[in-house]
Amino acid sequence: MSKNTSWSVDLLTGLYRAMLLIRFTEERIAALIEGGEIKTPCHLCIGQEAVAAGVCAALNQEDSIWGGHRSHGHYLAKGGNPHALMAEIFGKATGCSKGRGGSMHLVAPEIGLYGTVPLVGATIPLAVGAGLASTLRGDGHVAVAFFGDGATEEGHFHESMNFAALYRLPVLFVCENNFYSTHMALADRRPQDNIAQAADLYGISGKRIDGNDAVVVHEAALEAAARARAGQGPTLLECRTYRWRGHVGPAWDLDVGGQRRRELEEWLPQDPIPRLRWRIAEAGGHLDELERMEEDVRAEIDAAVRFARESPSPDPGELLHRVCIPRN
């Protein structure tokens, strides 16, 4: 629960719109996969939208974000163009990565997204490097690494935390703990459910928060970003959440074990979208506006799909371009 109750309706509806955009985009992608139109492997973040929305709303355009295999939400929340996202997933030349990257390799440097990649945890050190660059330049920008609970088992997560803590770099380590790495539950991979505690080891600020409450996430991210900008170093946020769909693709992954159905029963009612709607009402917002917003968002996604469908494929004649760039 958020301490601060005086969030403006504007801020809340902004968070709401970001979450809707993510949710509806992901659902549309799910349908397009089922329809056979999308082939690139997609890792949907339905259920986890509050993390992307809450964190990105705390950032400036020049702050950088770095993601992984499950990063459609990060791209959209930071302000990435939905047309270019959809076109990328369709493998088109107009995609954000011009058809080279697919769902797992998104980029939008104009809004501070420097790349997402599916090697688990691989962008954590890169985000630390962006923080190091900011420190050297004194530009006040913050770098955010988004990653999952699984990524904390990679050694470079620890190396990166130590590195960022040692030099007090302006980095937010945002762990979306959805309790699974592919089919493997957290308890099968870690002796304790204590990701946030890693912060103690490095003497940095660390928090375990409700990752399904966009306002809670936002508040924590704002505080972390402020600390980072003030030279007080990195923060680790463990955002507890749950992925509704399968590890990859639109299925529900009920085959990972008996606990999955129980967990879904527990988590579906924690849907971050209705939870925020309730807050907006409380803050004096108008729910009918939210409904209009839903229509807007759907229309935008329709347009993005149309754009993607109508876009040309990449030119095979350019297959070998830009392995290296020419010297300018």
Binding site: G91, M104, P316, V323
Partner: protein, 324 residues
């Protein structure tokens, strides 16, 4: 004879090894679930228990290192990497440790580890989920590297790898998992370092790795129809590779095309071409051509993937080029 798929053959080798040798265990990410391994490890955990078939945290270095440590103290582990790409996080244990262990200590201790890894590409997965990195490992002394292309070899090479006593990289290819072939029920070995002649011929030698063996077979048929008699060699092992067989074939045909679906520069095909040109120069009637991937990462868009990957057509073209 009984027919199995490539994936079933791999699974059967695992099961028989686990059943007959208490030193054998399997570890790695994705061994309890078919998402990554397809049917190649299906339900082994149910049959042999989750201690001997251990699905591991997302820690490639420690998992590989632990398997190597267990091997050094006398176990015969098979450590599984669902994609070669992930294994780059385990280069220190593989290249610095396992590969060196025997030599460093003059053979008094060994690391009899099988590092099984999958080439899993295509399907718009992109640059980091597509790599065929056997060339890196074939450069490193102390590692053996095998790449079965048939269900028969898949089973026999895994058994040979576990029994070999040295670190062996066992590299299989998801594109082959549904291929079927004759596979004996009993345990048997395919010798590491021995290639197979898939077709005898006299005009030109085509030598392949992994799934390109099947592509080359199609190429052979096309070429036969054009009157070209190809001798087709499937390396199966890329380190050590079968010099005797290749040399006797090229000694006869005087012409060689090497097809290897990895980056061309500095890849395995380069080693073959360099060795043949160094040692069999006077038998050569034509340039040795390589049919390899271009020196670029894998793209995602299917349109680009089609332009990127190689197959029978490329082999036909290369053969025609050195004949004319």
């Amino acid at each position: 004879m009984r027919r199995l798929t490539y994936a079933q053959a791999i699974r059967e080798a695992h099961a028989q090894l686990l059943r007959t040798d208490t030193r054998v265990f399997v570890c790695g990410q994705g061994v309890w679930n078919p998402w990554y391994a397809g049917k190649s490890l299906l339900d082994l955990d149910k049959e042999f228990g989750r201690r001997r078939v251990l699905d591991c945290p997302v820690s490639e270095n420690a998992t590989t290192g632990a398997a190597i440590g267990a091997a050094i103290v006398g176990m015969r582990p098979i450590v599984f990497h669902a994609r070669m790409d992930f294994m780059l996080l385990a280069m220190d244990p593989i290249v610095n440790q396992a590969a060196n262990w025997s030599y460093l200590f003059a053979g008094q201790v060994q690391a009899p580890i099988v590092i099984r890894c999958v080439i899993n590409r295509g399907g718009e997965q992109g640059a980091q989920h597509s790599q065929a990195l056997h060339g890196l490992f074939a450069h490193v002394p102390g590692l053996k590297v095998v790449m079965p292309s048939t269900p028969y070899d898949a089973k026999g090479l895994l058994i040979a790898a576990v029994r070999d006593g040295n670190p062996v990289m066992y590299i299989d290819d998801r594109w082959l998992y549904d291929d079927t072939g004759d596979v004996p029920e009993e345990m048997y070995e395919v010798s590491i370092g021995k290639a197979a002649v898939r077709r005898h011929g006299k005009d030109v030698t085509v030598a392949t790795t992994s799934f390109l063996a099947a592509e080359a077979m199609k190429a052979v048929e096309t070429l036969a129809a054009l009157g070209v008699d190809v001798e087709l060699i499937d390396f199966r092992s890329v380190k050590p590779w079968d010099r005797d067989l290749l040399f006797s074939s090229v000694g006869k045909t005087g012409r060689l095309v090497v097809a290897d679906a990895a980056w061309q520069s500095g890849g395995f095909a380069a080693e073959i071409a360099a060795t043949v040109t160094g040692e069999l120069f006077h038998a050569l009637k034509a340039p040795i051509l390589r049919v390899c991937l271009p020196d670029a990462p894998a793209p995602t868009s299917a349109v680009l993937e089609r332009a990127y990957y190689i197959g029978a057509g490329d082999i036909v073209a290369a053969v025609q080029k050195i004949l004319h």
